[in-house]
Symmetry: C2
Subunit: 168 residues, 2 copies
């Protein structure tokens, strides 16, 4: 396979993949494009490569920066801004985990706390099932929270090297 074709393939698949995970297709594609480009790209480069509008490009780059996945680069002698993505995939994964934890897991745990102390007779089957389900989710959520915190601080070696052995 030629490089150009492989790049296209990667970008389009990364985009499709993203949509299954609640990530906007264009955002995932821009990320993919920056991941596989050695040098930083300008907004115009990205627009041209992906055939998308200026506004769309701008919004999604911003979003990627908010997620901590892309950096704005100022090249000396250039008026334009350039953009580049972190290439170390382990760092990328940790960053995504960190953000999703903050945006989704933490609020969910807060909600479960409130729902846990529902009024009513605990002997009532419906109250019981509700409370038990909510508590069960909270318990696992808290554990996931702790585990992910540790993962976020860990080195890749830890994950790739030792995890499997420890679990067996």
């Amino acid at each position: 396979m030629k490089l150009t074709e492989a790049k296209q393939q990667f970008i389009s698949s990364w985009g499709a993949f993203g949509t299954h995970w609640g990530i906007n297709r264009t955002m995932a594609q821009i990320h993919a494009l920056l991941l596989i480009n050695a040098d930083p790209l300008s907004q115009d480069d990205i627009m041209e490569e992906l055939n998308i509008s200026r506004g769309n490009t701008n919004m999604n780059i911003r979003e990627l920066i908010n997620w901590g996945l892309v950096d704005r680069i100022i090249l000396t002698g250039e008026r334009k801004e350039f953009f580049t993505a972190e290439k170390d995939i382990w760092k990328v994964v940790k960053q995504i985990v960190k953000e999703r934890k903050k945006r989704e897991l933490d609020p969910m745990l807060k909600l479960l706390d409130q729902l846990e102390d529902v009024e009513g007779d605990k002997r009532d089957k419906n109250v019981k099932t509700f409370v038990e389900t909510v508590s069960g989710i909270k318990k696992l959520g808290l554990q996931a929270d702790r585990t992910l915190d540790i993962m976020i601080k860990a080195e890749e070696n830890w994950f790739v090297g030792n995890l499997v052995k420890l679990f067996k």
Copy 2:
């Protein structure tokens, strides 16, 4: 908080939560509803509780059954079918992980395999970055694949009890 209100809250939040993870809102809500109901519900029960149409209900129940999260129950003496969800959250999580791995991670790894042997001079900076990025993702993906396989087979105790200690 009253049970009715808490249920509503849980269902609606679970639905919103789902949309952030590429899961259709209604599907997540039906799942939530079945999770917190001690007894199985019929299609009509679900339609009424969530104010959704027959077709929508039917399609999303089916999807939940495909995901292995909901079971069809035949109650003796009843003509209708009833539905119930697995209440053990650890089992639910493992089932979701198993399915998403099959549907998303496995195909992604297959793709990366193909992209890895792109033609071209490895000294070319662009070829080099492409190959390195793809290989990096593949390496981490394979590790995740193995780790998740172990997780799928594990008991909850393992996760809740020992994981943290091992990681420290």
